[in-house]
């Protein structure tokens, strides 16, 4: 019986986000909240391992109350339990403060059911750092394995896991003691459509909801904005380049002009290498 915890996040869909050009802030009304796409692969992998070895999948998230919807999405994928930690005192957390708070929640979950494995997504599409996963692993003092794109084996009896970590020019096969933490690539699996029974279960499911006071040994100073070493000092719209020259005339004439411009720099076609 494995107990796997997936750490997940609800994020605004940055693909269809609209920015307020005056304030350079995100117009949240235009951005529907979704389960971080990378985290759906984390949950899917946890569910697959559960099917392979037997066990239980819990998901944990820190976020505002509507994050319950993201937890329900994980139940649809096949998770068994969901935990939301939500409190004003968590607000404004950077990656360091986030990994602190999530770790506190994981420690509490582990009290009732010891954890063998934690799975995170490679990154969140809004925070976009990939730092929270390794951060959680360091705080729990378990090995972080990032860029995981295949799980070869989990052996609870002998206490190890073997996975593939993606490298720039291939992959490495690495063995770690359990418990450990994986940050998974999107390529690790495909998330299929959820089966109907899971959808029904998810619709009815009520996650555990904890505030700071429900967690143990929490140092309030390490939470939220106060516990965040990094601060955003300035935001601005990305610079708009000046724009180019339009080549005029019919297609043949345009191409001829282009050719004279490009071939004027013909050394470019011969230059090889660089550093």
């Amino acid at each position: 019986m494995l107990h796997i915890v997936a750490s997940i996040k609800q994020v605004p869909d940055t693909k269809i986000i609209k920015m307020n050009p005056k304030t350079n802030t995100m117009d949240r009304r235009t951005a529907p909240a979704i389960l971080n796409p990378y985290d759906s692969h984390a949950v899917e992998e946890a569910v697959r391992l559960k099917k392979r070895y037997g066990g239980i999948v819990s998901v944990v998230t820190m976020g505002p109350p509507p994050a319950v919807t993201a937890i329900k999405k994980c139940i649809e994928i096949g998770a068994d339990e969901g935990y939301l930690i939500t409190d004003r005192r968590f607000a404004g957390a950077d990656t360091l403060a986030t990994s602190y708070a999530v770790t506190k929640a994981i420690e509490k979950i582990a009290k009732t059911r010891p954890i063998d494995l934690i799975i995170c997504g490679k990154m969140s599409i809004d925070g976009d750092t990939g730092q929270v996963g390794p951060g959680i692993a360091r705080r729990l003092d378990i090995p972080p394995l990032t860029s995981v794109n295949k799980v070869v084996e989990i052996n609870k009896e002998e206490g190890y896991a073997i996975v593939h970590r993606k490298l720039e020019d291939g992959y490495e096969v690495i063995r770690s003691t359990l418990p450990c933490l994986f940050s998974v690539e999107k390529t690790i699996n495909e998330v299929p459509y959820s089966p109907l029974p899971n959808m029904i279960k998810a619709a009815r499911y009520q996650p555990h909801i904890w505030s700071v006071d429900d967690l143990e040994d929490v140092d309030i100073k390490q939470l939220g904005l106060k516990g965040s070493p990094t601060i955003v000092s300035k935001v601005w719209a990305p610079p708009k380049p000046a724009g180019g020259t339009f080549l005029e005339g019919n297609p043949r004439e345009q191409v001829e002009q282009l050719l004279s411009i490009v071939l004027d720099k013909k050394e470019l076609f011969q230059h090889k290498g660089g550093i």
Binding site: L96, V232, K240, L247, L268
Partner: protein, 345 residues
């Protein structure tokens, strides 16, 4: 925290198969500027097995000092061992800034180290500056899917840390013979105590496409209409000896592999010539190619944002323009070859 005890700018030197990663050389260039502005040393930190000779390269690209941990236990990158070395070095020599390439190794290591120190870590930085007086690092990066830029500060902790995207900073021209101080360090680590073991390293046999190394890139977008239409891009690229690039929408449509994707979630490229054909010019694409030497856009919509980010634009149908381009280039390039041969080059 006594900020005065923290001095100097460090760059984590990523190395593999006896070569220093180009992003580390770029960061030495960027780090040099920061260090000069602050009037402090620039140091490289080099961890590995049989890597000492690489210090030569690190000096040539601008470092004053290199801290070296050269021990068999560092044969393969592992978070646990490399992290311990870096923490050890940081504790001993107290830098004010540490920069890492935003590669999978750099991000992995930086995240672990920042948590243990603890300190702030800015991810995927694309602009770096430092306040001369206070030494405050100004690390700017795209946020919210590239919709805005944000400057991130770490006011209360030292060292300040950032991972920096490849191909954004410029390496200095190497100065052969330039040297500096090598500080050899060792750390006592027992293999039995390390919880992770690299069992095997598998190189993918098919040569991975590295469009970030190409001098010429022909990139196509959704405007090519279909997988068949996209073949025009391949043809043109082949004609002029360029690499094929693509927008994310093309990759998602399955017309080409992710390795060809240019942009925020793809590769950052800086070729000498970049053709953007049937690409609208979304900011997430632009951030990946805007530093190219010469940008040429072909799009049938004269209001397409790509025309704001190019040097020369042709408003027209790719299926009309590109075949003519191919034909004209073929003629011109064969003339080139002829004249080259006659010149004896």
């Amino acid at each position: 925290m006594d900020f005065k005890a923290y001095k100097g700018v460090w760059v984590f030197i990523e190395q593999k198969d006896d070569v220093v990663a180009s992003v580390s050389l770029e960061l030495l260039g960027a780090g040099r500027k920061l260090a000069d502005k602050r009037g402090v040393e620039l140091a490289g930190i080099l961890i590995g097995e049989n890597v000492k000779h690489l210090t030569k390269t690190v000096f040539e690209y601008g470092a004053d000092t290199v801290y070296v941990y050269d021990q068999p236990i560092f044969q393969h990158y592992r978070t646990e061992t490399y992290m311990k070395a870096l923490l050890d070095c940081t504790e001993k020599h107290k830098p004010e800034i540490i920069l890492f390439g935003a590669t999978s190794t750099g991000k992995d290591l930086a995240s672990a180290v920042a948590t243990d120190l603890p300190t702030g870590l800015t991810a995927d930085t694309t602009e770096l500056d430092v306040e001369e007086e206070t030494g405050l690092l100004l690390a700017s990066r795209p946020a919210f899917g590239g919709n805005i830029m944000a400057t991130i500060l770490c006011k209360k902790y030292r060292p300040q840390m950032a991972t920096v995207r490849a191909k954004v900073m410029k390496a200095l021209t190497p100065q052969p013979g330039r040297t500096g101080k090598v500080v050899e360090e060792t750390i006592f680590l027992k293999e039995e105590d390390i919880r992770t073991k690299v069992l095997e390293i598998v190189k993918e046999t098919v040569k991975k496409v590295r469009i970030d190394e190409a001098d010429i890139i022909v990139a196509g977008g959704k405007g090519l209409g279909s997988l068949e239409g996209f073949q025009l891009i391949h043809q043109f690229a082949q004609t002029i000896g360029g690499a094929v690039g693509a927008s994310r929408d093309v990759v998602e449509a399955g017309w080409i592999d992710h390795a060809h994707q240019v942009g925020q979630t793809g590769v950052t490229v800086t070729p000498k010539i970049y053709f953007a054909i049937g690409i609208s010019g979304a900011i997430q694409h632009i951030v990946g190619m805007r530093n190219s030497g010469l940008i040429i856009a072909i799009n049938k919509d004269k209001d397409a944002p790509i025309f704001q980010s190019c040097h020369y634009g042709i408003v027209g149908d790719a299926f009309e323009i590109v075949p003519i381009l191919i034909e004209q280039f073929q003629k011109a390039l064969s003339r080139e070859t002829v004249s080259n041969t006659s010149n004896g080059c």
